[in-house]
């Protein structure tokens, strides 16, 4: 017979699964809009808002479960982690919106060199999928893989920054809006990458009760 707490845990798990898929879709849509110069701002804004609402729902439910059932051990760690993961997914939504906002504010960007963003987006997409799957399959081994990919993302970010400074000092003919848009989007991707790592950390914590070795 399921415990009363299990009904609440199932509900929280379902919301988190919905958030995972929605946040993944939100980031992928934003990157697609950036690459194809399409207008997805309204759609992504709605997704971002939905993620924020779901994050509040997770927090409210988590507090209610703690107050009513005093969960311990794995249950308690799961609830704590769900609050952190929900925050991470809500940030995915917010950064997606920021990406399309750059497109609207500084676009059209079709004449800009988008190579740096495209290169980083490949790794970030993989990280999102890995973190979402790690949560669903309770895979603690994802955390070190995510940190390895995060190192790649950080390296790309720093490399672009150095190139940018170098090009600016050479009075390059490229348009400033290209630099600024690339820099902003790379920064948002770098933050998404960090949050994907935190999701991996939370999964590791749920399973082992310890902080991920990297932290």
């Amino acid at each position: 017979m399921p415990r009363l707490l299990d009904l609440g845990l199932d509900r929280i798990r379902n919301i988190i699964t919905d958030m995972a898929r929605l946040s993944e879709s939100s980031v992928f849509s934003a990157l697609e809009a950036y690459e194809s110069e399409s207008n997805a701002k309204k759609h992504i804004f709605e997704q971002s808002e939905k993620l924020r609402t779901l994050q509040d729902e997770v927090t409210d439910l988590a507090i209610e479960l703690i107050a009513r059932y005093q969960p311990v051990a794995t249950d308690l760690r799961f609830i704590k982690s769900c609050m952190e993961i929900a925050y991470g997914y809500s940030r995915f939504g917010r950064y997606s919106y920021d990406i399309v906002d750059v497109l609207e504010t500084l676009g059209p960007l079709s004449g800009c060199n988008k190579h740096a963003v495209s290169e980083m987006a490949i790794t970030v997409r993989k990280m999102i999928l890995l973190s979402v799957n790690a949560l669903e399959s309770r895979d603690k081994t994802a955390a070190p893989d995510l940190y390895q990919m995060d190192d790649t993302v950080d390296t790309l970010y720093r490399k672009y920054l150095r190139e940018l400074v170098s090009n600016l000092s050479k009075n390059s003919s490229d348009e400033p809006r290209c630099y600024i848009s690339n820099l902003l989007i790379l920064r948002y991707l770098e933050r998404i990458s960090d949050h994907a790592c935190y999701v991996g950390d939370s999964v590791y914590y749920i399973i082992t009760g310890s902080s991920s070795p990297r932290r």
Binding site: Q70, P71, A73, T74
Partner: protein, 283 residues
């Protein structure tokens, strides 16, 4: 404190008075010395093997909780600690219970002295029914030869203060103990135990018959008293164990399954059986 019944005792200084409430929530220190060491203890009731080869060390000035389902042996283990188990017909025990380096089951050990050093509070409040509040607290002193009336009065007051009952009964000391509410009766029993100036206090589900307010008073007292006593509490209430204790021992079918700091037992137990029990997944 030791005395025969013929010897008059003229001085008495409970060490647990003037509790520093600011230290109530002081974390357990790993440097604390071992007050009590339970070593390979087995206990039987007739053929029933109730406690199976249990070993654990209890640190001084700490609160240790024994948890586990009904019949797991936690109360029996508690009763082994102050030699109450041997008072049950057909009960027997082997193993050692070392108190400050001395085995309480050694042939030279005095059972009455052990019970003075290791006090006990039971599940149901059990004041002496024909005695007044004052006499309930003073009973142990008188049995141990204390005759000085002023000394007895002082100890009764101090014990009632420490049991957080003084303010409620100071004008009714001559009234029957049985006239108090359930929560007050339990604190009276606590005062009675404290009057003997024990070094260890055993509490067997001390709040299971009390309402939440009376229960929380007892829990607060446990936190205060641990400054001067070592406390072992048996409880069915997992949240109570989590709130009041620094160490928790989980028992199942007479065996000690896991013994660790309470924060680790409730956040990250190492044994699957412990996890199942504390999170209500048993059965």
């Amino acid at each position: 404190m030791s005395s025969s019944s013929n010897e008059e005792v003229t001085s008495y200084s409970p060490g647990w008075s003037n509790v520093d409430v600011n230290k109530m929530l002081a974390p357990a220190t790993t440097q604390a010395s071992i007050k009590l060491s339970i070593q390979n203890v087995n206990a039987w009731f007739g053929k029933k093997h109730a406690v199976k080869n249990v070993s654990l060390d209890v640190k001084e000035n700490s609160v240790t909780a024994f948890i586990g389902p009904s019949g797991c042996g936690k109360t029996t283990l508690l009763r082994c600690i102050n030699r109450m188990h041997e008072m049950t017909p057909n009960a027997r025990l082997d193993g050692k219970v070392i108190l400050d380096g001395f085995d309480i089951y050694d042939k030279s050990s005095d059972s009455a002295m052990i019970k003075r050093r290791i006090g006990m509070v039971f599940q149901k409040p059990n004041p002496f029914p024909t005695m007044s509040i004052h006499d309930n607290v003073a009973a142990g002193l008188k049995l141990n030869g204390v005759r000085d009336k002023k000394l007895i009065r002082d100890v009764v007051e101090q014990s009632l203060v420490s049991a957080a009952l003084w303010e409620e009964v100071k004008n009714d000391l001559d009234k029957p103990g049985m006239g108090l509410s359930g929560g007050q009766q339990q604190r009276l029993c606590l005062a009675r135990a404290l009057a003997m100036q024990p070094e260890i206090l055993l509490m067997d589900e001390p709040t299971s018959a009390l309402d939440p307010i009376a229960s929380s008073k007892i829990e607060e007292l446990v936190q205060q008293l641990k400054e001067h006593l070592t406390i072992i509490i048996v409880t069915h209430n997992m949240q109570q164990a989590a709130r009041v204790s620094e160490y928790t021992a989980f028992m199942y079918l007479g065996e000690l399954i896991e013994y660790d700091q309470t924060k680790d037992i409730f956040k990250n137990p190492h044994k699957e059986l412990t996890e199942k029990y504390i999170s209500g997944r048993f059965g």
